[in-house]
């Protein structure tokens, strides 16, 4: 009888049952959601960094434009383009904000008093006319 027991003895194996499957499912869910939250947080960080950079660039350009305006008030016209229209002298200058934007300023000199006619950010990126036939490379069937 003891010999039969020795012959029928099977090696110990790791059993994969319901508990293991549930654990796998739980770990899978945890992993997916943790990665998802990390990716979203990373996206938020990058978006905020872009906003910070845009704000810094704008106010740096704004400060430069204000300094040029102050120079105009002191009679220094080296940074501005002078034009005349209807008896009013206009000073125009641009300050670069970033690769695609400039801050364009137009100042009017009306009898010695300088007034700001225009102070705006202009986007100079290459425009894409969406209504052109070649705007999108669409398949025409050929």
């Amino acid at each position: 009888m003891n010999g039969n027991n020795n012959n029928n003895r099977k090696p110990t194996v790791i059993n994969v049952g319901g508990a293991s499957l549930m654990m796998l499912f739980a770990v899978l869910c945890l992993t997916v959601f943790s990665v998802l939250s990390l990716v979203y947080s990373n996206y938020q960080v990058k978006l905020t960094e872009k906003a910070v950079l845009a704000t810094e660039n704008y106010y740096a350009a704004d400060t430069s434009a204000a300094e040029i305006f102050e120079a105009l008030q002191n009679g220094d016209l080296s940074e501005a383009t002078v034009t005349e229209e209807n008896g009013i002298t206009y000073y125009s200058y641009s300050v670069t904000v970033d690769a695609d934007q400039t801050l364009d300023v137009v100042v009017a000199n009306n009898g010695g008093a300088l007034t700001i006619e225009s102070w705006k950010v202009v986007n100079n990126a290459a425009e894409v006319n969406l209504f052109d036939d070649d705007a999108f490379n669409l398949w025409d069937g050929n």
């Binding site: 947080s41 978006l47 906003a51 400060t63 102050e70 300088l114």
Partner: protein, 145 residues
């Protein structure tokens, strides 16, 4: 015998399941905490940028007059250096009465006497070290002649 054998197999399985689950959950919870901290930092930075922009536009609109800026910005008060300071709590609400226990962020407007001013937002350090600068810009008021 057979029943004891199957019980020991189940016990081994459970032990391995719990061990593996605890390791994986510890890693995942750590990732959750990191993402939460990243999200909180970017949120605070976004609010800080907005408050600095608001202060900058206010400063420019009154041609750099700090008294008028103080009257416009809620909770603004002068520091000993002559700068203007606005304090905020953890939810970015302005603190009308200065309270060190509630103050978490503050914006400082420091004019340099030439019409320009440095406007910065700081986060109060928890360990009384130097406060952390979140964002800073320099603005210049345009004074029309």
């Amino acid at each position: 015998m057979k029943r004891n054998g199957s019980s020991s197999l189940f016990l081994i399985e459970i032990v391995l399941v719990v061990l593996f689950f605890s390791i994986c959950s510890a890693i995942c919870i750590n990732v959750f905490a990191i993402s939460k901290q990243l999200s909180l930092n970017s949120e605070n930075l976004s609010y800080g940028v907005m408050k600095v922009e608001s202060a900058a536009e206010c400063y420019k609109s009154v041609d750099g007059n700090l008294d008028e800026v103080a009257s416009i910005l809620t909770g603004a008060s002068y520091t000993d250096d002559g700068d203007l300071r606005v304090e905020y709590d953890a939810n970015w609400q302005p603190q009308v009465l200065s309270s060190q226990a509630d103050e978490t962020f503050y914006v400082v407007i420091s004019p340099d006497g030439t019409g320009a001013a440095e406007i910065a937002v700081y986060q109060v350090a928890e360990n009384a070290d130097e406060d952390n600068t979140l964002f800073s810009i320099t603005v210049k008021a345009v004074m029309a002649s």
